[in-house]
């Protein structure tokens, strides 16, 4: 992943332990110089390459917009004048017919309810979707962050310490990888929840969310941990790390200042692949009925509702579905662009 030239730049960037510091600037890769050589950090180089990649910029824009919509869900629903909990279709007569389906064509889309009404409960689809995205995206972000942190700890510890630690962490990773993970998610969300709440009671939303996060986190870190272990294993033998060791740098400082800056690329690239996977996994759980409780608007559960009513009202499913496809496509493109920007040699 990290090409030698980048690693060398990154290595030169790290302040050397005795604090004297070499005065020569790193050449800054292949960037053209005007009068004198200008030093550029790997981050700056990455940013320059990324800005030139039009697909990447557009998809980053789309992804950021989706996150903004999710974050601003309360503002949007305030401006729009509806909320995702009120059952408009049941309160106001004339919106839903006797079977619970919207009276107006195309799922009840009109000037009042832009994305139509939910069949049955008669809630507003637009606010459902923005609040649902908020739930799913925040869950996915938390799971991604936790998984990345755990992967860093386990991967770097295994790679750097080697020996028995590495062996046991490696076997642990293997073991976790052979769990049937989708089944594990489905099976353990109710069980872990039952540890805290009696099965007779309805699980509170925050607890359900924590259980989901916990279970996904438990089985989400292995790929990245393996990757990082491999990276650290080779980095450990590099001259700049050895130099730091000889100079008597404590291990913690070596890990922080020498190793971690060199594995930022795989971490970032891998997280851009992990996040959309978690979004779809969380949505899948909700679809199977073991996700968030029914009182919380949720992206995935909209698919479950959609799958129940698709015969008479296919429109309902389009909004969450198209939003999901756009999000995942944009995120995958962004992931590829980030990878190209960090590591132009890897190619597609």
């Amino acid at each position: 992943m990290t090409s030698p030239s980048q690693a060398a730049i990154a290595g030169a960037e790290t302040p050397d332990p005795d604090g004297v510091g070499l005065t020569s600037e790193p050449s800054g890769g292949q960037e053209p110089a005007k009068d004198q050589l200008v030093g550029r950090s790997p981050g700056q180089l990455m940013w320059m390459r990324f800005k030139r990649d039009r697909t990447g910029v557009v998809s980053a824009f789309v992804v950021l917009t989706m996150f903004a919509i999710a974050a601003l869900a309360p503002v949007i629903s305030w401006l729009y004048g509806k909320d995702p909990w009120t059952r408009y279709g049941q309160i106001e007569p004339g919106l839903l017919n006797d079977n619970g389906y919207p009276v107006k064509p195309n799922g009840g889309i009109d000037g009042e309810y832009w994305f139509g009404l939910e069949p049955g409960l008669g809630r507003d689809v637009l606010t459902q979707l923005v609040y649902g995205m908020r739930t799913s995206l925040s869950l996915a972000v938390i799971i991604t962050i936790l998984s990345v942190l755990l992967a860093i700890v386990i991967g770097v510890a295994g790679g750097y310490m080697g020996g028995k630690t590495d062996y046991f962490l490696g076997r642990l990773t293997d073991l976790m990888m052979s769990f049937p993970n989708q089944l594990f998610f489905v099976a353990f969300v109710p069980v872990v929840g039952a540890l805290v709440v009696s099965p007779q009671d309805e699980m509170p939303t925050w607890l359900r969310a924590s259980v989901l996060i916990f279970v996904m986190w438990l089985l989400g870190w292995m790929t990245l941990a393996r990757l990082l272990r491999g990276q650290v294993l080779t980095l450990r033998e590099r001259e700049f790390v050895e130099a730091a060791k000889v100079a008597g740098t404590p291990p913690w400082r070596i890990i922080r200042k020498e190793l971690l800056p060199n594995v930022v690329t795989p971490i970032l690239v891998q997280s851009t692949y992990m996040l959309p996977n978690f979004v779809t996994a969380v949505a899948g759980l909700s679809f199977l009925g073991v996700g968030m409780p029914a009182s919380t608007p949720d992206w995935g559960r909209m698919f479950a509702t959609g799958a129940e009513v698709y015969q008479s009202n296919i429109t309902y499913m389009f909004f969450p579905g198209v939003a999901m496809v756009v999000f995942i496509v944009a995120f995958n493109l962004l992931g590829d662009s980030v990878r190209d920007a960090f590591d132009p040699k890897s190619g597609r």
């Binding site: 052979s178 089944l183 069980v191 899948g284 199977l288 009925g289 698919f303």
Partner: protein, 325 residues
């Protein structure tokens, strides 16, 4: 080769043992009253007493686990009667033996998996090879973009759309069902056609991308260049030399995918109401049918691990350079 297989199988068994222990202890040891959990929301004291007795709840949990494991290999006696060798206990929901239910549901999952695999391997490898062959052309770009969009679709979105379109609006096909192959081959094929078409969307794109990059890599290998230099035809080199080498990463991923699919394609089976292992798992989780969940879990884990061992062994056949030590 034999030594490798023996060693890997032993390792696999250790992993299975750990998985079974972890699952069992999570299910039976940690909740304060597993009978209560098993009983669910509308629990009566009578039902609770029956479940307690059936579960042998008066024993310490390690003993329960021991009995469970012995039951799998040697059979086990219950108050209701003897349970023959692979005994995973009885379902809480309907008192059926877990093992029989699993065997009953497995053919559906196998049919779904194998048919789906044929579809996604054909489309995926074919598209990937064409993209590698015509690298940089319009076809290449088309396949790459197509596979990206395809991989972003979700079964729970596409499934109902396809049903709505093909079954309810155009009436071209019937609602997907499972008919055993031995009873009615045509019905089996027609009933599973839509699920096969839909389940491949999550896999095809992966295989397209993988086989494209793997082919391109192989085409720049020394032995391929030598073959070209000898004057062999492009087609021959492409298929006999490069293609064979490009299969290694594909076999790895295929093994993993096949293993997890055989353990039950939950979302697909749920979307199309197919009575497979995945649907069984979801149903049992919703009914908190612990013995059933436990059984399906172990069954699925066995397949995932088994396929991993097979994949490692398969390397040696595809690539003689791989030495199994």
């Amino acid at each position: 080769m034999l030594r490798f297989l023996v060693r890997r199988s032993l390792g696999a068994m250790v992993i299975l043992l750990i998985i079974s222990a972890v699952t069992f202890f999570l299910f039976y040891a940690v909740p304060r009253d597993p009978a209560m959990l098993a009983c669910g929301k509308n629990c009566t004291p009578d039902a609770l007493a029956v479940i307690r007795k059936n579960m042998g709840i008066d024993e310490p949990v390690p003993m329960q686990y021991w009995h469970f494991m012995v039951g799998i290999f040697a059979g086990r006696d219950f108050a209701a009667g003897a349970c023959p060798a692979p005994c995973f206990g009885y379902s809480f929901a309907n008192q059926d033996p877990v093992w029989n239910t699993i065997l009953d549901r497995f053919p559906t999952t196998v049919s779904l998996t194998l048919g789906g695999a044929v579809v996604f391997l054909t489309i995926g490898l074919g598209a990937g090879m064409i993209a590698a062959w015509k690298r940089g052309t319009l076809a290449d770009k088309l396949f790459s973009t197509g596979s990206l969009v395809l991989s972003s679709l979700q079964i729970y979105f596409v499934g109902p759309l396809v049903l709505a379109l093909l079954v309810f609006n155009l009436g071209l096909l019937d609602q997907p069902t499972y008919v055993p192959l031995s009873e009615d081959p045509a019905g089996w094929f027609m009933g599973l056609l839509i699920p096969w078409m839909v389940i491949q969307i999550i896999f095809t794109a992966n295989y397209t991308r993988l086989s494209r990059s793997s082919m391109i890599e192989q085409l720049s290998e020394d032995h391929v260049r030598t073959a070209r230099a000898k004057g062999m035809s492009g087609k021959f080199v492409f298929f006999r030399y490069a293609w064979r080498g490009s299969l290694i990463p594909i076999v790895t991923i295929f093994g993993v995918d096949l293993g997890s699919l055989l353990g039950g394609a939950m979302i697909t089976e749920w979307t199309f109401s197919l009575p497979g292992l995945g649907r069984l798992a979801v149903e049992s989780v919703q009914n908190t049918d612990l013995p059933m969940v436990m059984g399906v879990m172990l069954f699925s884990a066995t397949f995932i691990i088994l396929l991993n061992v097979i994949v490692d062994a398969a390397y040696a056949f595809i690539d003689p350079r791989v030495r199994l030590a």
